[in-house]
Amino acid sequence: MKNLLILGAGTAGTMMANHLRSKLKKDQWNISIVDQYKTHYYQPGFLFLPFDIYTEDQVKKDGKKFIPKGVNYIQKKIEQIFPDENKVQLEDETLNYDLLIIATGSKIAPEETEGMKGKNWHKNVFDFYTYEGALALRNKLREFKGGKMIVHFTEMPIKCPVAPLEFVFLADDYFTKKGIREKVDLTYVTPLGGAFTKPKATAALGHLLSEKNIKVVTDFAIEKVDNETNQIVDYGGQIVDFDLLVTVPTNMGDELIARSGMGDDLNFVPTNHHTLQSIDHENVFVIGDATNVPASKAGSVAHFASETLTDNILLYLDGKPLKQEFDGHANCFIETGKNKALLIDFNYTQEPVEGTFPIPGIGPLKLLKESIFNHWGKLAFRWIYWNMLLKGISIPLVSRNMSTKGKKI
């Protein structure tokens, strides 16, 4: 018997377990998946939790439900990978592997910024990228009567790069519905040159922020959060005051990657952009947020990548050349408030453009344009996530590689 080991039972790891169990012969391959946590979170739901749009129960389920029969689910802490010895050390045992899939994701690292995880953490400085942060922020927003609110992100790359923008749009809508919008001074603070950074998106959407009376501060490279004065300070001397700071801290790969000496400065694993094989070890493959590939860190990307990776693992086991196939395809709904959303569909080289999706010329979804239908799509996605995506079921009409049909390029 040979051993295939998957590290991480999040979106990407769970999908790979489902894909591969049905493809690899049970009398030849053991498949094990390791994750110390019991709960599988629907992370896109963390955007809705603070605004009381979703409840706690809608964003979490028991992870075990999604691991297929015939896969050994090990709930233990992973201490270290020894890629030269084909071994992984867990808290109380060592596993040998013939093929390893790293799907350990990324997480926030607020300690990377001075003062961010200080005495006001989850008091008036919040993240919404963790279940705990989103929930604490929900409780804060329920009581918030007005003042200066900043929505900020620290640096790229972050998981779901559009989430801070969506958050500020939903905040505008939330305070409007509560009847206190005029009492909230809403500012979006970005390290980049603008709220939108791609030409087509800037042209199509640049008006959204001013229309909603959201101020924008650009090129803000945060140096520290000052917990005495309630200010964020940038290296160039810019200062922004806040009563409530909602921030996306630096995102990093798991510490396991650093302990194992397999990552870059941010603990992301160097990975071939098109095959998803690790650069340093031929029997190690990497998927999802754990890679350093220049695609968005998003569930849709992991979904498209999982189809290519499944094929490539089978090719690798047959001793055949890998497909240079993965194109960084991402497909994301972007909430803009007032029950509307945008949809974007793009890859490594093609920026988001206007068009129709998934059926060229028909839709029913519109790319890079606000519509109520797109908002329904975003809400429907939760069902698709739990019932199709995690199980490795392809989404009808949406191929793994980005299609240029129906797009105004």
Binding site: E155, F196, T197, A201, L205, D219, Y235, T250, I344
Partner: protein, 102 residues
């Protein structure tokens, strides 16, 4: 769009960033620096070289990343490339400035 910089025909973004790093030369970097009001020194070039190596190795650029670079500290980075140092230095280096997906 196409433009002529330091006597060479180049493909640039609307904001003046090179779209193809293989077209970059030191003369082009110098010319862009002049347009940004920067007189290049050996120290500037050291930083530019470091940025280019980072980008070629698929590493994300950030001001915070400079702190761990071992090449220079953030204060010097701002002193060398005033007013949005990452924005300015990447333009001179012929590499894309940090972007989001939209």
């Amino acid at each position: 769009m196409e433009a002529v910089v330091a006597g060479q025909k180049l493909n640039l973004t609307e904001e003046g960033y090179l779209t193809d790093f293989s077209q970059w030369t030191k003369e082009i970097g110098n010319e862009i620096a002049k347009q940004e009001g920067i007189e290049m020194t050996d120290r500037h070039w050291e930083v530019i070289k470091w940025l280019q190596v980072q980008v070629q190795a698929d590493k994300a650029l950030s001001v915070r990343g400079i702190k761990n670079s071992g090449v220079l500290d953030i204060k010097e980075f701002y002193a060398l490339f005033p007013g949005g140092p990452l924005k300015v230095s990447t333009k001179i280096a012929g590499v894309p400035k940090p972007k989001s997906c939209i």
